[in-house]
């Protein structure tokens, strides 16, 4: 007698990573159910929610924050106990948090994956760049990534393409903004290496998406859908005969007697509990909810590493006025930056650093700043006009090391409207990035000096960067890691994690593309076994 299953594979989470995993499985003829705690919302409605909101700077604001599907900005949803308030912008809807990212889609460097071996700090990845490379290519294709095939992305000033690629970027890079050109023209001679940022804001029609038209609104919502968001593949999943069940918050993974996972239990907003079975399970509920679900279910944690090693690219920023108009805010919200500190022997001593050039229309930030200085009337108008042309905003990120004490856990006491625990996060910054910060500030001084600048703020303190990693850490050893290099749980052979949470050493680049590449690789492996 054969067992009946609701699907070959259940995917928990419909974001970019989960939807791509489901899509790849469907392409290979498998039946798939995707469970999503939030709902489908059409883009036009999110645009309306944004347009009508007075809180334009709050990237979660256009998205509903349901008591039964709370976003990270729901008051008290995340309780912090460390020295840093860890609070990423996390959404609950079909398509996930890629509704409001800036769509930076970098590949990690081969050296990022050998941090311990090369520099004696942090952890190594259990997989090499070459092994992951073809999956990076497929992820870039799915997302329609625009990038340069000819740059040394390590930021070390190499002459040609690095790291190696077996396929070209599917979309050519967009033209350089005037802002980027001018900063490059003046800062590059000082030795700063400017690199174009590969991104999933396609600049030509791709997979039903139009080319970017420079609305400069990637965050909190691309009004025309040129920027990739996970709903693209969630829609593909439905078209291909897969199921996406909305309003389905998974609260428990059920273990069978043979050590495999046999079912996922979800709860709806009207408190119905439903149990679905499958041969395989992929948990793609992002780097916070994934470990929370595993811990609540008491699965996959023989290493005691689930939820630990939480890493973000905790960062800081610099705002100054240049001595010439640079006209920021034209085109996309970011286009690249300065990568001298991306790799090198220095990583033994201090963290790698990325300086990204933020290209968001600065009027709101400037106005807010001026008002806080008590400037009003015609002087306010004049200053907004002048400053908005000369504003430079640098956003830097640092490579935090994995630390088991930095962790996310289900709250022991607090619950959301469904009776599911909220989360507690303990996160401390470390000396490794503090030492990096010293170098970054020296760079800041040089930027300001070279651009004849007037500093507005060069002491922002540590900031969230919303790149959640490490919490279901990948490794070679079942005793010290949660998943193997295939993203498979060491404890349950039919349970996979598809999330940036698997990343064991976080480099300085935005991790979503890597999450998608790992998810595609896991889908291939699962498809062979199902």
């Amino acid at each position: 007698m054969t067992t009946q299953y609701d699907a070959d594979v259940i995917v928990v989470g419909s974001g970019a990573v989960g939807s791509n995993a489901a899509y790849e499985l469907l392409k290979q003829g498998k039946s798939v159910i995707v469970l999503e705690s939030g709902k489908w919302i059409p883009r036009w409605k999110i645009v309306e929610n944004f347009r009508s909101s007075p809180r334009k700077g709050n990237h979660n604001d256009p998205y509903p924050n349901q008591p039964w599907a709370p976003t990270s900005f729901s008051p008290d949803y995340i309780e912090n106990t460390g020295n840093f308030k860890f609070l990423p912008g996390m959404l609950r809807l079909v398509g996930g948090t890629t509704w409001h990212w800036a769509a930076a889609t970098w590949r990690f460097l081969p050296n990022d994956m050998k941090l311990r071996t090369l520099y004696g700090v942090g952890r190594d990845w259990p997989i090499s760049y070459d092994e992951l490379e073809p999956y990076y290519g497929r992820a870039e294709f799915n997302l329609g990534v625009a990038g340069s095939d000819t740059q040394d992305q390590s930021g070390q000033g190499g002459a040609g393409q690095f790291p190696h690629r077996s396929t070209p970027y599917p979309v050519p890079p967009e033209a350089e903004t005037y802002y980027f050109q001018r900063l490059k023209a003046r800062l590059a001679p000082e030795g700063f290496n400017f690199i174009h940022e590969p991104n999933a804001r396609t600049n030509q029609p791709w997979d039903g998406r139009p080319g970017c038209s420079g609305n400069n609104n990637c965050m909190p919502v691309c009004p025309i859908g040129a920027m990739y968001s996970g709903d693209v593949h969630a829609k593909h999943v439905v078209k291909m005969g897969g199921k996406v069940i909305e309003d389905a918050t998974v609260y428990k993974l059920e273990k069978g007697s043979d050590g495999k996972i046999v079912a996922a239990h979800y709860r709806t907003s009207d408190h119905k509990d439903i149990r679905l079975t499958a041969r395989y399970f992929i948990i793609a509920a992002n780097g916070l909810e994934t470990p929370k679900l595993l811990l609540m279910s008491d699965v996959a944690n023989s290493s005691d590493q689930v939820g630990r090693n939480l890493m973000d690219h905790t960062g800081m920023g610099l705002q100054f006025l240049a001595d010439e108009p640079l006209w920021p805010g034209r085109g996309q919200v970011q286009q690249g930056g300065i990568f001298n500190w991306r790799d090198g022997e220095f990583r033994r001593e201090h963290s790698a650093i990325k300086h990204a050039l933020t290209n968001t229309v600065p009027n709101r930030a400037i106005t807010q700043h001026l008002l806080s200085q008590g400037i009003v009337g015609p002087e306010l108008d004049e200053k907004i006009k002048d400053w908005a042309a000369r504003w430079v905003d640098i956003s830097s990120v640092f490579e935090l090391l994995p630390n088991p004490e930095n962790r996310i856990q289900p709250s022991a006491i607090r619950k959301d409207a469904l009776g599911i625990p909220t989360m507690t996060i303990h996160y401390n910054t470390d000396d490794y990035i503090e030492r990096g910060a010293v170098k970054a500030k020296a760079d800041y001084a040089k930027f300001v000096q070279t651009m004849g600048g007037t500093v507005i703020n060069d002491n922002t303190g540590w900031q969230n960067r919303d790149h959640i990693m490490g919490t279901v850490i990948m490794g070679n050893d079942a005793k010290t890691s949660v998943v193997d290099k295939d993203c498979r749980s060491w404890d349950h052979s039919n349970l996979f994690m598809a999330t940036t949470g698997v990343i064991p050493a976080c480099g300085v680049v935005n991790p979503t593309l890597t999450g998608v590449a790992f998810a595609i690789r896991a889908a291939d492996i699962i498809a062979k076994e199902v």
Binding site: S52, P64, G211, I224
Partner: protein
């Protein structure tokens, strides 16, 4: 054994050489000429599947009666037309009769019947020597229900409607209106879509190029009439439309016309585009008696109530989730205004075109507006690729109707009104012609008798399936 195999392969290679050997006898020029004619006749649009091999066939032409699969016309001897003589080729192209039997008139042979002998020769040389054999058959096969499955029935229809004669090559030389006539009526087969059809589905010559429906879209009136046609367009308007699919302040190409621009018209020489304009200027005007002003003449938007547009919305999580509003203004600002702008003026450079001064908004029918909203636009031009997302997955029929009505009322012909059922009908390809609805029952009842086959021409209504990636 091995040796003879190798020898055999050697022979094969030798045999293949003449195909690509560039002879001294002007073959090169003929191939070049043939390639240009193939572009002007838009052979590739149907005979190459998007993403497939050139001329390997497989493109699905979806008609109200079923799918017709474009054939492999590469020089493959097994799967293509590699064994055809020039005479057989000419008969297929101009008369719709291939060595294997009758073609369906999804192949526009009634228009191609006018191709000059010289051009047929060049076209033949191009296909035989200038293209690569695709040694595989299209995956799908044409499979139509009775009576349309009976290809031989086309013979009778052909007697009645496919009797064109080749134009003498001397009259089709570059420059002038006669060349334009050849391009419009023969190669580009414009009338296939732009001329309405009679009950036998043959083109109604009294309304030549007067506009016709197909697959939900409306191929507009392109006669010289200044109100209903394109008599009011400047030469540059028309040329820019053919070249880039866009005439600022007039109209933009979508649907089948976008494909015609992408695959064919944008590749034509400037001289040929001028000839097309010259000829179209001479086409007898056809006037829609209900139309009083040209479709592009609505240039001033009716004002929007700014206070209402920026009114606070219900910010409860349920309301922020619910995307079912049928308030046209709300839908327009959320879904359309990011590109087409609050007052429908488009962007300054018209990369995102204005909805005011636009024939699909101000013209006598709303169906192209509805279809553009549903299906979007994807058009490669010599001036970059243009894309508008398809909204059929994001807006339901009521919402499409609501936003279309808002656009019509503010930016164009406010006498038009779209209902949800209109949207549904267009989604399904528009009203089915008489023949598609009744041919089967009539034939079963035996009423059809000898005349029935005439009706099979329904295929000319073939609408192209939008290629999916």
């Amino acid at each position: 054994m091995t040796r003879s195999l190798i020898a055999g392969l050697g022979l094969l290679t030798l045999a293949a050489i003449p195909h690509f050997a560039m002879a001294q006898d002007g073959t090169d020029d003929l191939i070049k000429k043939g390639a240009y004619i193939a572009r002007a006749a838009d052979c590739m649009a149907c005979h190459t599947n998007p993403g497939g091999k050139d001329y390997g066939g497989g493109y699905v032409i979806s008609s109200p009666l079923g799918d017709i699969i474009a054939s492999n016309i590469s020089p493959s001897k097994t799967y293509g037309i590699g064994n055809w003589s020039e005479g057989q080729f000419a008969k297929a192209v101009r008369e719709g009769v291939a060595p294997e039997g009758n073609l369906y008139p999804a192949m526009p042979y009634t228009a191609y019947s006018g191709i000059s002998d010289a051009d047929i020769h060049a076209l033949y040389v191009y296909f035989m020597k200038g293209t690569k054999p695709v040694d595989e058959a299209p995956v799908k096969k044409t499979n139509l229900p009775f009576p349309f499955s009976q290809r031989w029935l086309m013979a009778g229809w052909n007697v009645l409607y496919a009797s064109g004669k080749p134009m003498p090559a001397a009259t089709t030389q570059e420059g002038g209106a006669k060349r334009g006539e050849y391009l419009v009526n023969v190669l580009a087969h414009c009338s296939t879509c732009h001329t309405p059809r009679n009950i036998a589905m043959s083109e109604d010559q009294s309304r030549f190029l007067g506009g016709a429906d197909l697959g939900g879209w409306h191929a507009p009136n392109i006669t010289s009439d200044p109100v209903s046609g394109i008599g009011g367009w400047s030469v540059e308007d028309i040329k820019s439309y053919l070249r880039d699919g866009s005439a600022h302040g007039k109209s933009q190409a979508a649907g089948g016309m976008a494909e015609a621009v992408e695959h064919s018209l944008r590749h034509l020489t400037d001289s040929d585009l001028s000839s097309i304009v010259e000829y179209l200027r001479t086409v007898k005007p056809v006037r829609d008696p209900n139309q009083k002003v040209p479709g592009f003449s609505f240039s001033t938007p009716k004002p929007a109530d700014i206070a209402k547009l920026d009114a606070p919305i219900d910010r409860s999580p349920d309301a922020m989730t619910l995307g079912t509003s049928t308030n046209g203004a709300e839908l327009y600002t959320g879904a359309c205004a990011s590109c087409h702008q609050l007052n429908g003026q488009g962007t300054h450079d018209q990369f995102y075109p204005s909805l005011t001064s636009n024939t699909i908004v101000g013209g006598p029918t709303s169906q192209n507006l509805v279809m553009a909203i549903l299906k979007g636009v994807d058009r490669a031009t010599n001036n970059g690729t243009v894309a508008m997302p398809a909204f059929e997955g994001q807006l339901n029929n009521e919402q499409v109707a609501a936003v279309a009505n808002y656009v019509l009322s503010r930016f164009g012909n406010d006498a038009l009104h779209v209902s949800a059922s209109d949207v549904e009908l267009l989604k399904r390809g528009g009203p089915k012609p008489f023949i598609a609805r009744y041919a089967h029952s009539m034939s079963v009842a035996g009423i059809a008798a000898a005349g029935l086959f005439v009706l099979i021409i329904i295929f000319l209504l073939a609408r192209r399936k939008v290629a999916t990636r």
